[in-house]
Subunit: 457 residues, 2 copies
């Protein structure tokens, strides 16, 4: 429906002069591809895609749009899951994809400066040549941009060890909603000179400023890595084991939970093969990685747990990949059943096991025909509740699950953010005083409310 | 001169009713002890010390003070070094010391909730019973409060490994300047539900809200620890060695730099003994700590560096303490020479060695009679430039050193904050756009500007 929305002629002329024809895209077909998220759930309307080349052009775009009252949706790789990077009410899309410069790795400080539009996998390739790595990795690595990962405080597969994007953010450049450009990319490990603007922009989902470049801390790429798939009879056994391993295995890098039903599904769709002779109720996939061979430590840690039903260990890359496929193929396998409602939540660790057992019942009560698929980052308490068999706009399941989470003291968004998808439930986690503080901060940095107006608060 | 400043009678009456006589201290002698920082450099005036018992009383204090236009300086252990916790222009002191509750350690999530007034050493004792530790440690541990450490994003001795306070802040409770109370202490490792208010309050130096309680992540207390004192001929050799060790020693926990002159001073004042037969120009003290004995890794790492002149290793606690005394006795030893100007700065690692060599010249040009003492957290690029022999209010040395730092791309405050001491130089690190954003955020959360008005911007 791109053709139904138009830019004011004067704004169009100014943007064309600023960005040139390559930077102002109004071709309906191209624009349409930017109006929908990759899951197909969130589809909006918008008159144009703006493709600035550099920070100065981004600042120019924000200035023009402020002057004409045109709202803006910043967009990176558009791999988000909460509808935060597509327009909803006729906003223009501001694509950061052309700001993809990657500076040389700073060896001594172990940092790198990259443009917001740099794709994660490309940055990973650049850093790995120096035996260093971006500390955050996620399945969408071939599309997700670093700017988008910062804007959403992305988590992913190694949060257990390294934390989310905010922890590694050593500097930021952004055009704030008030039109000003801030640039603080010096990359100092310690710098207590005022408020943490970088940390505030991180996770703000494009509502405070348009991130144009970031300085990231890197981590050493471990020379040894072992993967193990461990089977359990109960969710409680799995959760308790991971809590124990977090203490006994300092080099524990990932601990991913999934179910026997999930393994059955990914094996049926051909995405992976079950290494065990029989199916078990619960699985935990662990990665342990460090400067020494962690095999002995891992074996001792696994054998210290009475509840373990079975274990498969992989030390070489092909067999590690085969085990990881059991986890990573969950998303495509579930998609073959229909477009899922993806509910990304955190539970307090003390409530996690009971939630894993109870949540399918919560879903069934709200939608008897739906099926529930559970997987997630069990060491962080982070569960991805995937529900299939519910209409895209039927939010009864979402409501029931998120209330269940909040009642247990959990978070309704672990790592995906609020976007538009969870905006109506934000009050489950945040008090009126907090929401008021959010609005006050937003008005302070984006006084005309032109940045991602449909998102967050 | 506390007796020269008075609270408005109506405010006094309301505060007395709210806090009772124990919570509203106007005795001139007691008040006076809260009006000066521990170095004696910053001394202000103020009519009273308020000592609320809980968060509700803090909220009441902020409400009364807003109504009467009385400005407030939050104060924890008053161990800061930039004059940020003493009043300057007649503000009341809001002491958080009575909010010292310490909740039980949450074993599974490895977290703890403590009141803002809890003293670091007391929290350390509580967590160490569970083989867990607060990830930030500093020399002022017997006085510094956790609330103050969060308000200033304290760093200290283990930042190299664990980062500063902000990284470990899993939740916060605070009374904002607008009078509202926010409380988000659930302690979830992943929680992307809106702006990072906790991270924003962390390092805001009491200007946005009064922190009343925090939820902290803890780390495993390593079972093995080795300390080594390593001597170098040049600053460049020391800096390069630490950069190498940061990569080759994943369990490197601290890397502290000091000079031969500094060792001479601490040995003369009786604070420590030199383990070597001859004095060397530069020293690095390293701690390596982990789940396995790191002695072999450390020996290999040290012997891989050609520039090492001498090395002393300590594996037991008394000998480790003897080596650490060489570093920790710097502060008292320097104080015997007079009240130093303490300039806490970060240099980019590539500029650090040259700065260490050049900065005494910068000081000498500004104040020929002054002496310069250098020590710091070399792995982070953090140097404490101590200058003795300059009058407390003579800021020419401060100006010269901070300009030198900024010219090299460094930070004028690594871990102490801005306070009042560095406010006039904040522009060296922060652009007008950033300062404008700081002011906008401050006005958003403290619209009447009653919180620590003399501090930061």
């Amino acid at each position: 429906m791109a053709e139904l929305v138009r830019l004011p002629a004067s704004a169009h002329a100014e943007l064309l002069e600023l960005l040139g024809p390559e930077g102002l895209v109004t071709d309906a077909q191209v624009v349409a591809s930017h109006l929908v998220d990759w899951t197909g759930r969130f589809r909006g309307t918008g008159p144009a895609v703006l493709r600035p080349r550099d920070t100065a052009e981004v600042a120019g775009v924000v200035a023009v749009c402020r002057r004409h009252g045109v709202a803006v949706v910043p967009q990176g790789g558009n791999t988000g899951l909460v509808g935060g990077s597509v327009p909803h009410e006729g906003e223009v899309v501001l694509s950061l994809r052309r700001l993809a410069a990657i500076e040389p790795v700073a060896e001594r400080s172990r940092q790198i400066t990259v443009g917001a539009g740099a794709v994660l996998a490309v940055v990973q390739a650049a850093t790995r040549r120096h035996a260093l790595d971006v500390p955050v990795d996620l399945g969408a690595r071939d599309s997700a941009t670093v700017g988008g990962m910062v804007a959403t405080n992305a988590g992913g597969l190694q949060v257990l060890r390294h934390g989310s994007m905010r922890r590694h953010l050593k500097g930021i450049e952004a055009v704030l909603g008030d039109g000003s450009t801030i640039s603080h990319l010096g990359g100092l490990d310690k710098d207590n000179t005022g408020y943490d603007l970088a940390g505030l922009l991180c996770g703000s989902e494009g509502t405070l400023g348009v991130i144009t470049a970031v300085r990231l801390g890197l981590v050493s790429r471990p020379s040894h890595r072992v993967t193990a798939l461990v089977a359990f009879a109960s969710a409680a056994g799995a959760v308790d084991a991971v809590a124990t391993w977090r203490r006994s295995l300092p080099d524990l890098e990932a601990a991913e939970l999934f179910t026997g039903d999930g393994v059955g599904l990914v094996c049926r769709t051909g995405g992976a093969r079950d290494p065990f002779e029989r199916r078990h109720p619960w699985y935990v996939l662990v990665d342990v990685a460090g400067p020494h061979d962690p095999s002995d430590d891992l074996a001792a840690a696994v054998s210290s747990i009475d509840d373990v039903l079975d274990v498969a260990v992989a030390t070489d890359e092909p067999r590690r990949a085969a085990l990881w496929a059991l986890r990573e193929e969950h998303t495509p396998a579930i998609n073959t059943l229909g477009a899922p409602h993806k509910l990304d939540v955190t539970l307090p660790l003390d409530a996690l096991a009971a939630f894993l057992v109870d949540v399918p019942r919560t879903v069934a009560e709200a939608a008897p025909a739906a099926t529930t698929w559970l997987f997630g980052h069990v060491g962080d308490g982070n569960v991805h509740v995937n529900v299939v068999g519910v209409a895209p706009d039927d939010e009864r399941v979402d409501e029931a699950v998120l209330r269940h989470v909040a009642d247990l003291g959990g978070s309704i968004s672990a790592e995906h953010g609020i976007g538009v998808a969870k905006r109506r439930w934000l009050h489950l986690n945040r008090s009126e005083a907090e929401l008021h503080a959010f609005r006050a901060i937003r008005s302070a940095l984006d006084p005309d409310h032109i940045l991602n107006p449909a998102v967050l608060v």
